[in-house]
């Protein structure tokens, strides 16, 4: 059945059209903590919008933003088992996708698939005729699934030395009805949808070690979204708690967070 709402004959909004690029690549991990990148020449001559995702752990799950974990925005210093980090940046001619390897038990080896898109038209110098969807020959971001999920993360467990410097991660999954690993766009909220965070946002707060009068910071909340052929993964990180009492500091009360995540899946390439 034809859905008339999806006719685009008369569209007056710009549609996200991808520059004609391969859309995927491979990064071979270096040693623990080292950076490896791929460079994608788009040569558009202006600064476009762009996205990237990566199969960070080489298990078929594509993460559409950085992988939140126990140490995200933590004040812990020194060696910990850092997770790999996905970073990417762009200028008027080139997109760079970077994977920094983790360390300790989270050191990765082998090669990771990465996916990316560079979008046309996001610059005023582009001829407006390109906004017309009816003559576009570029790939577009088709939305293959859209849903909302709620996850309760009750926060870090109290009573253990230094756990107050870590986040509690609660991961939930749902089946991927599309059946193919995809990228995701999302927004999320910890106040029931009164305010929304962009996917990449990280909320930070401060607390006090009362025995010493020392003010430290920690992550309040952040999320990541991953997707495999069969499953959609939602990671929530919650490091929020009250002031920490005792010497050594061990006493604190975690703050439960209810994450509302609205997400859209779209083709990876």
């Amino acid at each position: 059945m034809t859905d008339l709402d999806r006719l685009s004959h008369f569209y007056d909004l710009n549609v996200m059209k991808r520059a004609n690029l391969p859309g995927s690549g491979i990064i071979t991990y270096g040693g623990a903590g080292t950076d490896r990148s791929i460079l994608v020449d788009h040569n558009l001559g202006y600064n476009p919008f762009f996205i990237a995702g990566a199969d960070i752990f080489r298990n078929g799950i594509i993460w559409s933003n950085n992988y939140v974990n126990e140490y995200t925005e933590s004040s812990l210093s020194g060696p910990v088992n850092m997770f790999p980090q996905l970073n990417y940046w762009c200028n008027s001619s080139q997109l760079t996708i970077n994977l920094r390897n983790g360390d300790g038990t989270n050191t990765q080896s082998g090669s990771a698939d990465v996916y990316y898109a560079v979008y046309l038209d996001y610059d005023t110098s582009v001829n407006p005729i390109d906004d017309l969807v009816s003559i576009s020959d570029y790939s577009q971001d088709k939305i293959v699934y859209h849903d909302t999920i709620t996850i309760v993360n009750d926060g870090v467990t109290t009573g253990t030395t230094y756990t107050w410097q870590q986040n509690k991660v609660v991961q939930s999954t749902i089946p991927n009805p599309y059946g193919r690993a995809a990228l995701a766009r999302a927004r999320w909220s910890i106040d029931g949808g009164a305010s929304w965070q962009s996917l990449e946002s990280k909320i930070v707060y401060t607390y006090t070690l009362t025995a010493f009068g020392v003010v430290l910071w920690s992550l309040d909340s952040a999320i990541s979204i991953g997707c495999s052929d069969s499953t959609i993964y939602f990671r929530t990180a919650n490091g929020r708690h009250g002031n920490v009492t005792g010497n050594p500091p061990t006493g604190y009360t975690p703050t439960s967070r209810t994450f509302l995540i609205e997400f859209w899946l779209y083709e990876r390439e």
């Binding site: 034809t2 859905d3 999806r6 006719l7 685009s8 004959h9 909004l13 710009n14 549609v15 996200m16 950076d35 990148s37 600064n47 919008f49 762009f50 996205i51 933003n65 950085n66 925005e73 004040s75 210093s77 970073n87 990417y88 940046w89 762009c90 200028n91 760079t96 970077n98 038209d121 996001y122 610059d123 009816s134 003559i135 576009s136 020959d137 577009q140 971001d141 088709k142 939305i143 859209h146 766009r185 999302a186 927004r187 009164a194 305010s195 929304w196 965070q197 962009s198 990449e200 946002s201 990280k202 909320i203 930070v204 707060y205 401060t206 003010v215 430290l216 910071w217 859209w264 779209y266």
Partner: protein, 144 residues
């Protein structure tokens, strides 16, 4: 010349479409930072409430500082990015040309979007910042 073979008249699936005109702007990070969390916020009033807001930032990376030289951020200066920090020079006490990262986030309530730059300082000092400009570019999508 319009290529008729490329006409797209119907799609079975919806696609992301740009909801608002690009919003370009900039702000400066300046002043001082002290022990604890230091925050700078910028409020951007959009023409209408966004649906899925996407933001890119532009500014200095972690290069050109004297100490320490950890290179925790691989992003070079003069590039756009979606997730990460702007690096600002701080000076004060025993710290000279010290790298001060402000991590950037964005949230929105209705048509009001707030960009937040957060810097956490773990040591007891007051650092005077050398003003650093941050550019931002906002795009919003509708999904229907």
């Amino acid at each position: 010349m319009v290529d008729l073979t490329k006409l797209q008249s119907y799609s079975e699936t919806p696609s992301f479409k740009q909801n608002l005109d690009d919003v370009l702007g900039s702000f400066n990070i300046s002043g001082t930072v002290v022990s604890g969390v230091n925050t700078r916020t910028v409020v951007v009033n959009l023409d209408q409430a966004p649906e899925i807001c996407d933001i890119e930032f532009f500014g200095r990376g972690e290069q050109g500082f004297s100490t320490p030289n950890n290179q925790t951020d691989p992003r070079p200066s003069s590039t756009w990015f979606k997730e990460g920090a702007i690096w600002v020079r701080g000076d004060g006490g025993i710290y000279s040309n010290y790298p001060v990262p402000f991590t950037l986030s964005a949230s929105f309530i209705g048509a009001t979007l707030t960009i937040t730059a957060i810097c956490a300082i773990q040591f007891d000092a007051t650092l005077t910042l050398t003003t650093e400009a941050v550019q931002y570019k906002i795009v919003d999508y509708v999904s229907t």
